[in-house]
Symmetry: C2
Subunit: 345 residues, 2 copies
Amino acid sequence: MKTELTERQKLLLSLIVHEHTRTAQPVGSKTLVEQFTLPISSATIRNEMTVLTEMGYLRQPHTSAGRVPTEEGYRFFVSNLAQQTILPAPMRNTIAHQFYQAREDLDGWLRLAASVLATQSQAASIVTAPHTERVAFKHLELISTRAAQVLMVLVLVGGEIRQQILSLNDAATQEDLSALAARINDLCANCSAEQISRLDPQLDPPGAQVLEAVRQQMQLSQKLVTGEIYLDGVTNVLAEPEFADTEQARSALSLLEERNKLADLLSRTILGNEIGGVQVLIGGEGTWEELRQCSVILTRYGIADQLTGTLGVLGPMRMPYGRTISTVRFVAGLLSDLVAENLID
Amino acid sequence: MKTELTERQKLLLSLIVHEHTRTAQPVGSKTLVEQFTLPISSATIRNEMTVLTEMGYLRQPHTSAGRVPTEEGYRFFVSNLAQQTILPAPMRNTIAHQFYQAREDLDGWLRLAASVLATQSQAASIVTAPHTERVAFKHLELISTRAAQVLMVLVLVGGEIRQQILSLNDAATQEDLSALAARINDLCANCSAEQISRLDPQLDPPGAQVLEAVRQQMQLSQKLVTGEIYLDGVTNVLAEPEFADTEQARSALSLLEERNKLADLLSRTILGNEIGGVQVLIGGEGTWEELRQCSVILTRYGIADQLTGTLGVLGPMRMPYGRTISTVRFVAGLLSDLVAENLID
DNA sequence: ATTAGCACTCTCAGGTTGAGAGTGCTAAAA
DNA sequence: TTTTAGCACTCTCAACCTGAGAGTGCTAAT
């Protein structure tokens, strides 16, 4: 159907995308030739623009306005024309240094990652906590609180921690609880939820109750987006001229608040996307009505098949794709390194 | 300075606030008499309005518009005129039932609380995780991961869990670690960070390293807004007509993103406010420039001196105060009950 | 103390206008 | 065949004007 673009057409499309990204205005043929001192006349550009418009890469907001890239136009640009702009070295160092300083804990890293993404891309950032595909038992701890109430702390392979308050049918001493925990730790080491449900340990009632709670927590953890989702820079999006009308912004940002919709969106990157690959969703791709005006850049980080999370950026469709993709990739790399260094297995 | 308001003036102020809250428009003398079929004429109302305007409770956007309540007007309304509207019983039951169902964990409760607040008030909601004033040691667990890396899980009195990955100088077996943890558990039971730093247990190097990490984590936990902050309904604010201009909305919502500013705001409720008291900040109170157009309703929940958190709502200054204050109080009550039921000490 | 009446003020929506930007087409030039 | 200059045409946008409408403040009468 679509014929190949000539080199000149590619160049023009590229320039139009750049100029429009910079000014947020439709770009006209004359502006183009002046801005970039092109060796061809505006009339020639108009002819080429007509072609690109017919091919669906450009569109005119109204009869006598300049051209604006369509979703298709952006898609072509991202796949064929956008060039990765490597972040300047001092910037990279500054960021890496921040991560080094925030060496405290996972929570701090993820929050920092979201903050860096948001600042660098001037858009909204999304970071999910890393998550194991294969949920397995690592360690259990039972802590007596008062009467028959017990705080259960469950550590999973990968380092995820889940807690629950159990009300036992009978009171138990801390010694009893510790013994029970030790027994279960032996029994379940490295087991999956299914394996646990299959083994029949003939435990006394409180033991069975604890084991069932362990199994439930592990099953909960298997659900995809169970953990924390870190957002930052949401107000950056409001600053973009395309969202001067609040209604537009509202629909886009509401997606970030509805956890299940957001999870749905993030799961896009999980299916068929290896670590290191960056996925660019432009204009909702027909699926997300709320994102008609937006683009989302997502990638995964972590260690494949062990501990992975998703991270990305949501901004207006008019976005500096080259720079943003690089930034997303860079931050994902940093987080992957951190996960690798601190992997718990 | 200010003379007392007559009953009729109070009534009128009250009606103006209600009408303005409903329509988001300045209210005129004629509208008022028609809307509420008052037994006085519009001219009389105009005279009273002049008085109220001179007293600083009302203001005219321009010469020939109706009146709008000023910050002072809202403040007077909230302190003297607003009546608590108790949530209808079926509504209360529905909400309580939701909490009952989400019995899983603290995380779920807090998220639900934020969601309920946001939905009921049609504004942005803020909920912080409960936090101990007096941070004290409850239980430590050391879990061997690989080589000299150790996952440290620290449970504080109150149930807060903190985790950290330690790199020991020498590798240690799980038995060694368990023994060390047991020793420290005995040593530190119910201690504060200061007490821990004072005791000199003559532990071997890895033990000292762990103890120092425990102390650090406890000190971190003492910082006020250390835990998770749950937000919901941020996009509700965007729907309000006063934020049709994105710039306004941006400045207000940016406050919610900047953790330290938000913490600062929340700390307002901590100083000199007992549990059960609801604090209403109208128009930034001269302190928060970003909130010039907004009101914030905050309260504390939990058990005084033991485990308390903050929760509240941020919305436009034009807000149904009676209803919203009741809702905030109601949700705080629910959370307080949950904390009491599941207190860990 | 209250009210009817009225002149006055200000906003807002609708309509008009002219400048400016950008296009498409055509005919000539390369 | 491709490129370009020239030009008529279209459309937006800001500025301006205008009249309707809403609401006020004042005054004089009740």
